[in-house]
Symmetry: C2
């Protein structure tokens, strides 16, 4: 199996393991058994061990995992020891929130530029990030390396999506109300929208009595 | 199979279908073939038909799906024809953003109260929603029906999580940096954190050359 063919659900769990390990590290916990780690991650120990076998960090029998070492292995495996350049599409309230979000930058994701199509927003500078007209996308991506794009447009997210895909941006986090996909396996799209996440909860509540 | 045992991946796709159908409706599109709908939803037609068989709306041969009718069937199936009461835990910038977010309310999710533990925030009113001390949770949940909670605390998300679970809140969207789980199958947790979504993209980019 090529690593890029890692099952989506496995990737999802590896990302969760990383988040849990980071929180353990903040609490100065140095080692954890696979049973305890599995419980904190919402999986059983067999699943945890199987998933971590992709990463190649197998822990030590009787001691469990070193939090710091497993966190580092996971970060490296997930491409998180590198720095990534982001652009943003659509200066909505969510877009402004993200440009000001310390957590994203702290994790090695750097906004290099934002794009909008409304004249009154072009030229604004938000937390050090300049807002360009979407029609300047080609110009901007020639000047700076762009790894990922985040779509936060409320009124026409498809316009940003199309522009970013045409510009050969290969990784897009779409936070708009419209889920979007491409057939090209060389492009990765993550769709997330707050009301959609809440819809999974409403389905559960409707059927839980 | 009980409906509540619907596979998580199927639920995820049904929520996406709903988002795509809502966007088609906004564009005044009245009918769509299962092939075109599947493409827009990033699945193949067989998968779409199989997923929609849970919902019981099978379309009409040669005509495809009525956008309005399928959207309504999905909304009903997913519990989205009802209204749901939310509380918020942690008055972070993300928390304030969500309290002011029109999209969430428009979709039938209503914030009834927010909670914090820092004295300077207690008593604030944000977009009509009062901020209470977390130790008043029992009092507030006696006065109003609470269906779901959203955790947006940056400094101690676990404290809100524990309080909400102890208060028998059955559906929690955790937007903090710390993924959280319960063993009780009567409680549903959704974990989402922006840097985690970006980590799925960084993994992809690291392995796509």
């Amino acid at each position: 199996m090529k690593i890029r063919d890692l099952p989506e659900n496995t990737l999802h769990r590896l990302v969760i393991y990383l988040g849990v390990l980071e929180s353990l590290e903040r609490k100065k916990i140095e080692a954890i058994s696979s049973e305890d780690l599995a419980k904190k991650c919402g999986v059983n120990p067999a699943q945890l061990r199987k998933d971590l076998s992709y990463v190649g960090n197998l822990g030590t029998k009787g001691v469990g995992y070193s939090v710091k070492s497993l966190k580092f292995s996971l970060k490296k495996f997930l491409g998180r020891t590198e720095e990534w350049n982001l652009i943003l599409g659509g200066l909505s309230p969510l877009g402004e929130f993200l440009l000001n979000c310390k957590e994203i930058q702290k994790e090695g994701f750097y906004f290099m530029a934002a794009f909008d199509t409304r004249g009154e927003n072009i030229g604004k500078v938000i937390n050090g990030v300049s807002v360009y007209n979407l029609d300047q996308l080609t110009y901007v991506t020639k000047a700076i390396r762009v790894d990922m794009a985040i779509i936060t447009s409320e009124d026409k997210p498809e316009e940003y999506f199309e522009a970013f895909v045409n510009q050969k941006i290969k990784a897009i986090l779409n936070l708009s109300a419209v889920p979007m996909f491409v057939e090209d396996p060389g492009v990765k799209i993550e769709n997330f929208y707050f009301p959609m996440a809440l819809t999974k909860l409403s389905f559960f509540l409707k059927n839980s009595f």
